[in-house]
Symmetry: C2
Subunit: 301 residues, 2 copies
């Protein structure tokens, strides 16, 4: 059996013209390299060098060098690729996130992440929670950052943080000047516009309000435009209300259960790719900072 290391020893010796220097490079003793070459010659059935002094190749030696040189370069390149990928330094990472996370949390994290990984390719896609989960299930993304679904459906959720929901209304709205956090009963009769972030909210008082809602808007920009036009009011996670159009204000809600949970979602039973695992690590490390910065509650049980 011809060992790859024997071929490498041969090439190194040809490159240096003698065994001594090659042995140094290979971190072996002279005798080890000598014996390795001898064994290689025995396996091939002919001498590789014209004399003991390893300066001149035989025809066979020249041929082997021609073939093995490129082979070893291929070999080294392949192993580098593999280890780079295995250590999360290269490869493609596809992230799907809800817009608020994509806009506020990810830029900071991704910046340092890509800086350390010039080889890596990263795709970021923002959409609503339901689409994030669908993309994961269809294998169209590696990671999701969104609200976890109620029941287990082939996804695994790692809790990241909770984000308090706030009431969003026109500045001229009567409740806009209410000094205290709003209780549910204060919202009775409001023209509530539903949106995707509210689908996970199970509080009975809210469900009663939601049942009376006439309007549902999926896109955040459209939703805020509606509020700005005073066509109604809505409830949104705090993160999503960082950049409001003029004339739109927010009021906190009194119900402490009224929170959006944001999880990191991965496909259940699938080991994440190394670069995904590296990103998860970095994200979890960065989370305390983010939580403090945006006033989020870190984790839940």
């Amino acid at each position: 059996m011809i060992r790859t290391e024997a071929l490498r020893a041969f090439v190194t010796v040809t490159e240096h013209g003698n065994i001594r220097d090659a042995a140094e490079i290979l971190c072996r003793t002279q005798s080890a390299v000598s014996m390795t070459l001898k064994q290689l010659e025995a396996e091939l059935g002919g001498p590789l060098f014209e004399s003991d002094r390893k300066s001149k190749l035989t025809d066979l030696g020249a041929f082997v060098l021609d073939v093995v040189g490129p082979l070893l370069r291929e070999h080294d390149r392949a192993l580098e690729l593999i280890t780079g990928y295995a250590q999360g330094y290269s490869g493609r990472l596809r992230i799907a996130a809800v817009p608020s996370v994509a806009a506020l949390i990810l830029p900071t994290v991704l910046k340092t992440f890509v800086q350390a990984r010039p080889e890596a390719e990263i795709d970021l896609y923002d959409t609503d929670s339901a689409s994030v989960r669908e993309m994961l299930l269809r294998g169209e993304t590696d990671l999701g950052l969104a609200s976890p679904a109620g029941e287990a459906d082939g996804l695994r959720a790692i809790p990241l943080f909770t984000d308090p929901l706030v009431f969003v209304c026109h500045a001229a709205h009567p409740l806009a000047s209410e000094p205290r956090p709003l209780a549910w009963h204060q919202l009775t009769g409001e023209r509530l516009i539903l949106n995707e972030t509210l689908s996970g909210l199970a509080t009975p008082e809210f469900r009663t309000l939601a049942a009376q809602a006439r309007l549902s808007v999926r896109n955040l920009t459209s939703l805020l435009a509606m509020v700005q036009a005073d066509a109604g009011d809505t409830i949104l996670p705090g993160l999503a209300t960082r950049a409001l159009p003029s004339g739109v204000v927010t009021r906190p809600l009194a119900d402490p259960a009224c929170q959006r949970r944001v999880s990191l979602l991965v496909r259940d039973g699938r080991t994440p790719s190394p670069i995904a695992a590296a990103f998860i690590d970095m994200l979890c490390d960065a989370l305390p900072n983010m939580a403090q910065r945006f006033g989020l509650s870190e984790r839940w049980t």
Copy 2:
């Protein structure tokens, strides 16, 4: 250190979907393959399979397979190339031979030689002895079949056979009907045409005759045409007189020293390429047959 055999084990397991069958192919026990995979995973720093049942790859596993599959094919192809070359089954063999050897000895030998070596490329070049030696020295051919030069000049000669020289003359020539082998003195006064095969003949009687010669012709066909036209007579090795034009006859010479020596010539101090060595072996094996067929004396000391 990632062993090539570990990569091969991994690919084989993915191909069979389980360790047991792969172990059979690899001529190892289950546990050996299992431990090899485990070691590979440890070296990469992550799992290659989703579960103990080796049916589903992780992302990392799929990536490694993508990279390693082609790598191993390259590797195997390269080793095949090398061993094929080392065993003399492939490669290029350039032979330079004097015309008589090229025409009479080589066809039979080369026929079986190339049949056994569909991968090999063989170039045959015929020219006179001096050119054969020059081609060898310039590295333009691997083997020469010709008369050895007098002094050692960077070539090594392996004696093959001796070929008795014969007198060649027109059928109407007085000596053509001489029943006994010719002695040198009988040739005195003949219009001897010199040729390249006579340059190595050192017998004093012949040298005296040669000194009186007016004509020297290099090409065999031209030489025989001269004799056919009765423009003179000449001396040639027996092998070169196998196909004479009509009207031209040969007579044996009495001097037993009057022989052309044919050697196999190679460059001194250079190991012949494996395919050249294989050809030399085959030629030496076939020689007794040839010697008998053409009435040559096999070898000399």
